[in-house]
């Protein structure tokens, strides 16, 4: 059928089956990939477009239904001459786009509102944008951006580009932001060549089973290839060099629901039309090992045959004599806390494509870690690393989930064998079933303090369900014992972490590597001890906060930059006000009760006791193009911008003069993974070094002193040294390249966990105000004040964005998110916070300089979410007396706890 309609103001036609989704027609046939697809099910709103001026999900509209009507997409917002609309400018200026995958949908939803309502209030903005999910921003800056775009007169304050030397500390808009607000950014599914073959992965419907494959001949005749385990040169991958335990394609046995069994490769329509029941797989289903108790039971079947007791790894920290010290404590608190599998729920599902170029393989993919991907693909395909090129696309959110391989080996192998481009885009249910999760934890904690409220001893054991494969399990099990006593000085410590294999989805890296789970336990203990001694909960923490000069439980003396006490000082006035407000509200008896809670955290920046170097280059071409060659992938957190700011000031030229090359393993050096909050600190230091190095070279060429002022104009660098100006002609000197490297100084941990696991730590304290409906068990978080010691805020807007986004994820962890294999494998049943669930957030940035960091900066990528759940759960306890032992605290769980508390008369 031929469909004629008006597309962004111009006549358009489309020919094909009328039941085709409008989103597919726009993206695949009309070339408008600004409209994003995050679920194809109406749940995420990334595909929001206007149909006759009304916002609709383009994934739910039959293209036949747009006949004769007007469709507007994000591409239509930008003026014909390329100027941004007011709304787009406002999004850019406010940092409302992080990864940017939700941005087109947000913009279109806001556009509908602003056409109907010139000056909407916050509530109207929330109603209008309620159908678009954002996993990065916590929505705060999105609401601000929409409201600001409606203000009369110079609504959007024009951003003045900072001059040379003034970039660090400035609220510079993202250097890669323009493409994010125009729909021009190319994500994993956006740049697939038209002639690419497609892969559909056939996955296990069983958590544990053996299988045999029948005759694949008939399928193979319809397809270009059907890949099985036999086609994978080295069929194992994994994060650790010595643990390659996860097959690319299962070989006769599956260990979790969603595990990849076969890859169907062919024309897109063909692979999509083949149903799973047409694929000849004979299953022998076995009872799965579900949960930690089943994995550790005496007769438990093994998940991996060579892993006795289903144990992946264990270890801990011992300092002083905790067992003995409890005897002398004035107050002791203990408890057991449990958390669930949590899904990253980035709005962009895994996507990418590969092509064989001679005897090299080139993979374009949404990833957090191009160099690790390169080495892993080389190993899986048994090629030399130099034969693999990873080109990261824009990444529509990662949060740790795009640190493991997903589509890479499948498209790589298929493209290699077939010598044609091959693409794979996960569906949302596939993304949720197949990829890693946050580790479910069971944490037993016991803390004791003296009569003055000074902590004396702690004993924490954390058991983790690491699912079917190791992934980042060892990282979690190592990191948690170091952090499990919380950001406090405790003389006697015993902590223990252990991870067990189960037939659950592989648990991997997720913002915080187990520390958010542990924080729920240690912060509950702080509340309880404070309450026992009648000390204010904030003051109790203040008394015990780690400070510069203190020794940690691993025996590390914190020489600098331990700003927890300052964070708590900053919260104190808010804390007092909130308590008074809660008391006043609760004086009126009613079914709603208010409470205030607090959570603290610390977080070691970078890998635990392991080298994690970054190398960054800054190049100046003969024509005067200044380029940051940045191997650190920006997954929305802003490293492209931050590193540019740092390099610019180190070099002494304005940030605006920088061009950017990001991630491509052929063009940039290894800057490590975007994980462990390390890019600002580690790659930032490398960028600083690169900028300084280039500056030195220029100064040397100009024979100028270190205070000289640089400027760049075309192929010439002017160097003003006092009254004298020298000009360097780059055409004569040739290209200049500055390089910087940094590897944070750490030492291994010994058998007792003693050593220097991290070069520096971030600290934070957050306060939550909640209102609980005690008849329904629902919790409304009303406000969060977050004080974070970031060392130095290189870009306060981006730092706030990380904190706000982390808070939204922390809120989800506390109140709604629980991944149940087979049951919550879509964004309909798996709930993440919407724009209406995230409260007002106030960020307070504390800058306790870290001398090792670039301009004193540390990291903030993960810390934002760690204290949030403890603060919310503490507030619920304050409001109701219920201490959550299991998260998420779903309405029925809280309700049942309130009822049983009443029953006990407490």
């Amino acid at each position: 059928m031929k469909v004629a309609f008006v597309l962004n103001g111009a006549a358009a036609t489309w020919t094909g089956p009328p039941v085709t989704r409008l989103a597919a027609a726009l993206r695949d046939d009309l070339g408008l990939t600004g409209t994003k697809v995050g679920c194809d099910a109406g749940d995420c709103g990334a595909c929001t477009v206007l149909l006759d001026g009304r916002q609709v999900c383009a994934c739910l509209v039959a293209v036949g239904q747009v006949e004769g009507r007007a469709v507007e997409t994000v591409e239509g917002l930008t003026g014909g001459d390329g100027t941004l609309a007011r709304l787009q400018k406002s999004f850019l200026a406010h940092g409302a786009a992080q990864c940017g995958i939700c941005t087109p949908g947000m913009l279109m939803a806001a556009e509908e509102l602003l056409r109907q309502t010139a000056r909407p209030g916050r509530g109207e903005v929330e109603d209008a944008l309620g159908g678009v999910l954002c996993r990065c921003t916590g929505y705060t800056k999105i609401v601000d951006a929409v409201l600001a775009a409606t203000e009369p007169a110079p609504m959007v304050t024009p951003v003045v580009a900072p001059g040379a030397g003034a970039a660090v500390g400035a609220r510079l808009p993202r250097v890669d932001g323009h493409a994010k607000v125009t729909g021009g950014d190319v994500f994993g599914a956006d740049g697939i060549p038209a002639d690419a073959l497609w892969i559909r992965v056939v996955r296990s419907p069983h958590a544990r089973a053996r299988f045999t494959l029948g005759d694949l001949g008939p399928l193979r005749r319809r397809l270009a290839a059907v890949l099985t385990a036999a086609d994978v040169p080295f069929n194992g991958f994994g994060i650790y060099p010595e643990i390659k335990d996860q097959p690319v394609l299962a070989d006769g046995i599956v260990r979790y629901r969603g595990e990849a069994v076969l890859a169907l490769v062919g024309e897109r329509a063909t692979v999509l039309s083949i149903r799973d029941d047409e694929v000849p797989i004979a299953w022998t289903v076995e009872p799965p090992v579900t949960g930690i108790d089943a994995a550790t039971a005496a007769e438990a079947p093994l998940v991996q045959a060579d892993r006795p007791k289903n144990l992946l790894l264990d270890g801990g920290v011992r300092h002083g004599d905790a067992a003995a010290a409890f005897a002398g404590c004035a107050a002791v608190a203990d408890g057991v806390f449990e958390t669930a599998f949590v899904e990253h729920a980035y709005i962009e599902p895994e996507a990418g494509w590969a092509q064989r170029v001679g005897d090299r393989i080139e993979i374009h993919v949404s990833t957090q870690t191009p160099y690790m991907d390169r080495d892993e693909i080389a190993n899986v395909m048994q090629l030399r690393p130099e034969s693999v090129r990873i080109v990261p696309t824009a990444c529509g959110g990662g949060f740790g989930g795009k640190l493991d391989l997903s589509v890479q080996p499948l498209v790589g192998i298929a493209a290699w064998l077939l010598k044609r481009p091959v693409a794979c885009v996960y569906t949302r249910p596939e993304s949720m079933a197949a990829t890693t999760k946050r580790h479910p934890a069971r944490i037993s904690a016991k803390f004791g303090c003296d009569a003055d409220g000074k902590l004396v001893a702690c004993d924490v054991s954390a058991s983790f369900d690491t699912g079917a494969y190791a992934s980042w399990g060892p990282t979690v099990a190592n990191r948690v014992p170091v952090h499990a006593m919380g950001p406090y000085a405790v003389p006697h410590v015993r902590t223990w972490g252990e991870a067990f294999f189960t037939n659950g989805p592989p648990a991997g890296a997720f913002r915080g590597f187990g520390v958010p789970q542990a924080a729920i336990a240690h912060e509950a203990m702080m509340d309880e001890l404070a309450d026992k001694l009648g000390i204010d909960r904030l003051e109790f923490r203040h008394r015990n906060a780690l400070r510069a000069g203190d020794m940690t439980a691993t025996g590390q003396v914190l020489a600098h930059s331990a700003g927890l006490a300052q964070c708590l000082d900053a919260l104190r006035p808010h804390w007092r006000r909130a308590h008074e407000a809660a008391v006043a509200f609760n004086d009126k008896a009613g079914v709603r009760r208010r409470g205030v809670g607090i959570g603290c955290m610390w977080y070691g920046i970078g890998n635990t006791s392991m080298s994690n170097p970054s190398r960054i280059r800054v190049g100046l071409s003969p024509a005067g193009t200044l380029t940051l060659y940045n191997g650190a992938v920006d997954i929305g957190q802003g490293s492209n911008t931050i590193l540019t700011q740092i390099a610019a000031d180190a070099l002494g030229l304005p940030a605006a003069q920088f061009a950017l090359v990001q991630g491509d393993t052929d063009l940039t050096a290894d800057a490590g993974k975007t994980s462990a909050s390390r890019q600002t600190f580690v790659s930032g230091r490398a960028a600083e070094g690169a900028g300084k190095d280039l500056r030195q070279q220029i100064l040397r060429l100009a024979n100028a002193g270190s205070d000289a002022v640089l400027s760049l104009d075309g192929g010439k660098v002017m160097v003003r040294d006092g009254a004298e100006v020298r000009t360097i002609d780059l055409a004569t000197t040739g290209a200049l390249v500055g390089e910087g490297t940094f590897d944070p100084p750490t030492t291994p941990l010994d058998a007792n966990g003693q050593g220097i696991p991290y070069a520096t730590y971030a600290f934070a304290a957050q306060m939550a105000e909640v209102e609980v409906d005690i008849e329904l068990g629902t919790v409304k978080v009303q406000r969060i004040v977050a004080a974070h010691d970031v060392g130095k805020a290189i870009n306060p807007t981006l730092v706030e964005g990380q904190i706000e986004g982390g808070i939204a994820q922390g809120l989800g962890l506390a109140l709604m998110e629980e991944f149940l294999p087979g049951r919550t494998e879509n964004l309909h049943d798996y709930l993440i916070p919407t724009i209406g669930d995230v409260p007002l957030i106030e960020c307070i940035l504390i800058e306790d300089r870290e001398p090792l960091g670039p301009s004193g900066a540390k990291g903030v990528g993960e810390p934002g979410l760690v204290p949030t759940a403890p603060a919310i759960l503490g507030a619920v306890h304050h409001a109701t007396g219920v201490r959550a032992r299991r998260v998420p605290l779903l309405p029925h769980r809280l309700y049942e706890a309130i009822v049983s508390l009443k029953g006990t008369g407490a």
Binding site: P17, P18, V19, D40, A41, G42, D43, G45, T48, L51, R54, Q55, V56, C57, L60, V61, A62, G64, Q65, E67, A109, E112, E126, D127, A128, G130, G131, V132, L133, R200, A269, L272, S273, R275, T427, R428, P429, E430, E775, L776, T778, L815, M816, L820, R823, T824, N826, H828, D829, L831, P833, T834, I835, G836, D837, L890, P891, H892, Y895, E896
Partner: protein
Amino acid sequence: MARPHAVLAGGTDFYPARVGRAIEEDVLDIGAIPVLRGISSVSSGWRLGATTTWSDLLEADLPPLFDGLKQAAREVGGRQIQNAGTLAGNLCNASPAADGVPCLLALDAEIEIASSAATRRLPLDQFIIGVRHTALAPDELVVAIHIPKPAHEVRSAFLKLGARRYLVISIAMAAATLEVADGRITAARIAVGACSAVARRLPALEAALAGTRVDGHLGDRVDRAHLAPLTPIDDARGSAGYRSEAALVLLRRLLAGFAR
């Protein structure tokens, strides 16, 4: 129409059921059939054409009888879903958690059904007969939803409980229509959703309310025994016991709200 076909209206249930696979069945798209669209007032009451969307309803000038249904419309999905999804689609999809069903039960809605051969009408409680199961024959379509004009002044309301603010499937919801004369209830129609395979009216509660004054004590008249028709289940969104309690609380609040 010889072959079995799938009906497509707003697509908001149709497409989510077809993620990641080719759509190969024959599809009858009713989106562009003019006679199916729109809300009209007729002598016996109102006729909501089958492709009337939630947003159409919200923007229509309708009497207080429709306040509850409009409250439900505001809580369906997000704006995009309200702009595309239809009331009839909500009924035909027959989800236990369909927000439109308790409201339309409380409005005594009748469903007008047509095939190429004939038309017929069914009361809503005979139209939805199970989880994702309706009385429609393969060649039948819903053409309209009819709402009868009540005898007296009417008030109506709806309350929904979900685990987040937008885009949320109800854990439980309740709808009420009260006909009032001289400050007393002459007839009450109350329904609860997501607490049984199909949303259910609560006749005992309706009877208990008949004749009573619309005052601040209305909520107190709800008794646990009134919930007997409900058969809530445990699922990821809530336990059965919690659903019962929540239904009770929602009903009390819903009724108490009429005094305000």
